[in-house]
């Protein structure tokens, strides 16, 4: 993830209500704003506003089904990035440990 994308993701998730929306979608649900509002202590308009912010951060995907708009989490980029970050980070942690041991042996 580039810094701009990270900024967008973090500002989208800085709001506790938006994190509740993400959690509500985290079970894999594909639901309307009304359904989400029923589960959360906010109005439908409030939910719609938060969903729009999450869509701008590309964390949520919207899909038109007839007259309804249904929302679901779009976390694939995050998952992919998270795996890469974890793997590459672990590789460098191990290598830097080896490097320090090598330098110690050469003293």
């Amino acid at each position: 993830m580039g810094p701009e994308r990270i900024d967008r993701v973090f500002s989208a998730l800085a709001d506790p209500t938006r994190r509740r929306v993400v959690e509500a979608l985290a079970g894999g649900s594909t639901v309307t704003a009304s359904t989400l509002a029923a589960d959360l202590p906010i109005t439908r308009q409030g939910v719609a506003k938060h969903l729009a912010a999450l869509r701008r951060a590309k964390l949520v995907r919207a899909e038109r089904v007839g007259r309804e708009t249904r929302y679901q989490l779009d976390g694939e980029p995050l998952e992919d990035a998270a795996r890469w970050i974890a793997e590459v980070g672990a590789e460098w942690d191990a290598r830097l440990g080896e490097l320090q041991r090598l330098l110690d042996r050469r003293r």
């Binding site: 979608l25 976390g75 998952e79 980070g89 460098w92």
Partner: protein
């Protein structure tokens, strides 16, 4: 796509002089003792960089930047074709030398159809903690 780029940074203050670390970064025999099983590296811009790891994986690339004792950058490509750039920089620090390594990765075009959301979120939370939130 720019917003799919990713990078990992690590830094360590190593108990050694910049010269000693520079040697470990650029001497093929020494690289073979910490970075990979076998390494070929020609520390000039445009030089070849080639690594073989303990699990048999090979990565091939090109040296991009060299400033002796200060920084070294090279690309390497994995067998799946994904290419990333590794950049080391050195600076004197209290207690030794600060080594910063940044690996900047590619956009991976992998699809993960049908992935489970719980796992995604766990991975996401792990990513957040890795970037220090």
């Amino acid at each position: 796509m720019r917003d799919r780029e990713r990078s990992v940074a690590r830094e360590a203050v190593l108990d050694a002089s910049p010269e000693e670390i520079w040697e470990a970064l650029t001497d093929e025999r020494l690289l073979g003792e910490w970075l990979a099983e076998d390494a070929e590296l020609e520390p000039v811009p445009g030089g070849a960089a080639s690594f073989r790891f303990a699990d048999g994986e090979r990565r091939e690339g090109t040296v991009l930047e060299v400033e002796e004792g200060c920084y070294l950058a090279f690309s390497w490509s994995r067998p799946d074709g994904s290419r990333s750039v590794v950049r080391f920089s050195l600076e004197p620090a209290v207690g030794g030398t600060r080594l910063v390594v940044v690996e900047r990765g590619p956009a991976a075009a992998t699809a993960h159809a049908g992935s489970e959301w719980t796992r995604r979120l766990e991975a996401f939370v792990a990513a957040l903690s890795l970037v220090g939130v």
